[in-house]
């Protein structure tokens, strides 16, 4: 299992994270070349391995506004194959829509990935294996999780840059909710809400920590995300080898204060780096691509004030 290579490690003893911000103004850009060149800089251990790409396919998306864009998914798949991966699978378990085929067809995924019966895994109905969670932040203790994820050598979380009406933002850590199978826990995976979203997030990511993250920030979503928000062009791809650092960087790009995002602050204890000085920034700087995202009133406290400090 992928997370076996990720001992839970306090931040002070963890090496610096690397996060790259690349400009990508539209989905018509050559994202395959951009991603391939970027991933090459990370010297990722994927040769001969099975790579699992976990995009965020939350619901029907004929306009390409709420899910990770298929162009980005296809670019990542092609890049990992070029880097020597033996197999690259794509999979998600939509939280609100049982008809996964309708979801992927609505966004035209087949045009980009080919035969979905061979390249795509519906994590909601995959075979499952009982996994004891490695932390006890929530009351969950154990979850049945999909074999396709548990047997992958290298897991890549691929969210879209969005606000979220329960969690504040949904990025590479929150995206991992999608591995929890609906066949066991339903649509939505309500057991995670009852366990506390922030706490459940920590337990899931400590157990199946993504090895890498690629965030589709070409067009994000602000306001009442993750479904009913407003499209927000941001023109970036954010990638990195530490999901906490990637999410913190994304929050800064959105002009939010990552230290005020509950689960991200907690995740920084054992799962990755939140502090800017522990993140080696590649490509663009946060300041050059910063794009303030509107948030719901309930998350106003996440906004960065004019002086760079959090609003009270």
């Amino acid at each position: 299992m992928s997370s076996a290579s990720h001992p839970l490690q306090p931040s002070f003893s963890r090496p610096s994270a690397r996060v790259a911000i690349r400009r990508a103004e539209s989905y018509d850009a050559d994202l395959s070349a951009l991603l391939f060149e970027t991933l090459r800089e990370f010297d990722l251990p994927v040769r001969g391995k099975t790579v699992f790409l976990k995009p965020n396919f939350v619901g029907l998306d004929p306009l390409g506004l709420i899910n990770t864009h298929p162009v980005v998914v296809a670019a990542a798949r092609e890049s990992f194959l070029r880097l020597g991966a033996q197999r690259v699978l794509v999979g998600d378990g939509p939280a609100l829509e049982r008809d996964t085929e309708a979801v992927v067809e609505s966004m035209g995924l087949r045009e980009y990935l080919g035969d979905l019966a061979q390249t795509f895994v519906d994590l909601n109905v995959d075979d499952v294996h009982r996994v004891r969670l490695r932390t006890r932040a929530s009351s969950l203790k154990a979850l049945d999780l999909p074999q396709a994820v548990l047997t992958a050598d290298f897991i890549v979380s691929m969210p879209k840059l969005k606000t979220h009406h329960w969690a504040g933002v949904t990025l590479s850590l929150k995206n991992m909710f999608g591995i929890v199978p609906g066949s066991c826990y339903g649509w939505p995976k309500n057991i995670l809400h009852w366990a506390g979203i922030n706490r459940a997030l920590l337990d899931i990511n400590s157990t199946v920590r993504p090895d890498f993250a690629i965030v589709d920030g070409v067009v994000g979503m602000e306001g009442n995300g993750p479904i009913q928000g407003t499209p927000k062009p941001c023109g970036v791809l954010v990638v990195g080898d530490d999901p906490v650092a990637v999410d913190a960087t994304c929050a800064r790009i959105m002009d939010l204060v990552p230290e005020r995002i509950g689960y991200l602050k907690q995740a920084a204890i054992l799962l990755g780096h939140l502090r800017e000085e522990k993140i080696q920034q590649l490509g663009e700087s946060v300041d050059t691509v910063r794009t303030p995202f509107a948030v719901l009133e309930a998350f106003r406290k996440l906004k960065r004030g004019k002086n760079g400090l959090a609003l009270d």
């Binding site: 829509e97 895994v121 075979d127 066991c184 649509w187």
Partner: protein, 344 residues
């Protein structure tokens, strides 16, 4: 994912606008379901996957409508035996073998047992379930005792004292059924429970089921989206109206088919009818078609559209979707329809 079942050359899917619906059904759906049965008797969610309760229930319900020889009868018997063997001591069924806690699939298991193993020599008895004579009764008992987590005294007190935290507007006193024990009521598990309880004769119900059914029906109406139709069960979040979804709408309407003339049903049917042409997935298409037919609304021929969708992704090898298709296209639809027959 590797075990993609494709039909043999002699079993190619029918093509052309004028093929009868039975052709697709008999040449594709039933063979697919018989071929994908696991040696242990159950069905997995996909061809080649481990047996699980939900796809086994749908496959059994679908094959109830199949013409059967001795071999196929035996296959159904193995399926029922597997299903009975998975029941937990408290009467519930888990989603997968080995799980210690039962869940929403219990409604489907009860429905499948009722349809395929009617109480010929005692409640819930059939040769396939020998040794488990009370399987159905125990399943119904669990369903009647399985309350969702919301709506209790503490919950309602919190709603009253902290109104600003009520992001989702709903009447929590109207309790249906949850996906997993102790969590909230949602549209689909409530619909499954209501359908099972409506199909299974009331004289087999434990005490208190009538009240639970009334609450569940009221809960569904409470969770309807403002413009008609249902999503998973959040009609309004942060004051914003939720978008309905085809699957949830179809299940809710099937569960509420006794109230076909009610304005909410008609408004939801209108939404479903308007949405029909834009449906992208075979599962949604089958459910929408079955639902519209149940309410005597006209629908285009289903098998032609399914054939086209099968060519695209082979339904992602999803056993439940093939089973739903078989149910919709065969007499097995009686498991989910009752008012159409009553109307004649």
């Amino acid at each position: 994912m590797d075990a993609v079942v494709k039909l043999a050359p002699g079993e190619e899917a029918p093509r052309g606008e004028n093929r009868p619906q039975s052709s697709w059904l008999e040449r594709f759906c039933f063979p697919f379901l018989f071929q994908t049965q696991n040696p242990d008797g159950g069905w997995g969610h996909r061809a080649g996957a481990c047996s699980a309760v939900e796809p086994t229930c749908w496959a059994l319900l679908a094959l109830a409508g199949a013409p059967r020889s001795g071999e196929q009868e035996a296959a159904l018997g193995r399926g029922l035996s597997w299903l009975c063997s998975q029941q937990l001591p408290d009467g519930s069924w888990p989603a997968f073998p080995g799980q210690a806690q039962g869940c929403w699939v219990t409604s489907l298991a009860c429905l499948a047992l009722h349809v395929l193993a009617p109480p010929t020599a005692g409640l819930g008895w059939s040769p396939a379930c020998a040794g488990k004579p009370d399987a159905l009764a125990r399943g119904l008992g669990w369903l009647s005792r399985s309350w969702p987590g919301e709506g209790g005294l503490w919950w309602r007190l919190r709603e009253k004292l902290l109104p600003n935290q009520n992001i989702v507007r709903q009447n929590s006193a109207l309790r249906g059924w949850s996906w997993t024990p102790g969590t909230s009521s949602w549209v689909e598990p409530t619909s499954y429970a209501l359908i099972a309880l409506r199909k299974i004769p009331a004289e087999l119900h434990p005490r208190g089921v009538a009240k639970r059914r009334r609450l569940g029906e009221a809960m569904l109406y409470d969770r309807m989206c403002p413009g008609g139709g249902w999503n998973c069960g959040n009609p309004r979040v942060y004051g914003v109206a939720g978008e309905p979804a085809v699957g949830a709408t179809a299940w809710a309407l099937l569960a509420l088919q006794d109230y076909s003339e009610q304005a909410e049903n008609q408004r939801s049917l209108d939404w479903l009818e308007r949405s029909y042409a834009a449906i992208h997935g075979p599962g949604s298409l089958v459910l929408a078609s079955l639902c519209l037919e149940t309410y005597a609304r006209s629908v285009p021929p289903l098998s032609v559209a399914l054939e086209r969708l099968y060519d695209a992704n082979q339904f992602l090898q999803n056993v439940a979707v093939v089973a739903w298709a078989a149910i919709a296209l065969s007499p097995a639809r009686a498991a989910l329809q009752w008012t159409l027959a009553a109307r004649g």
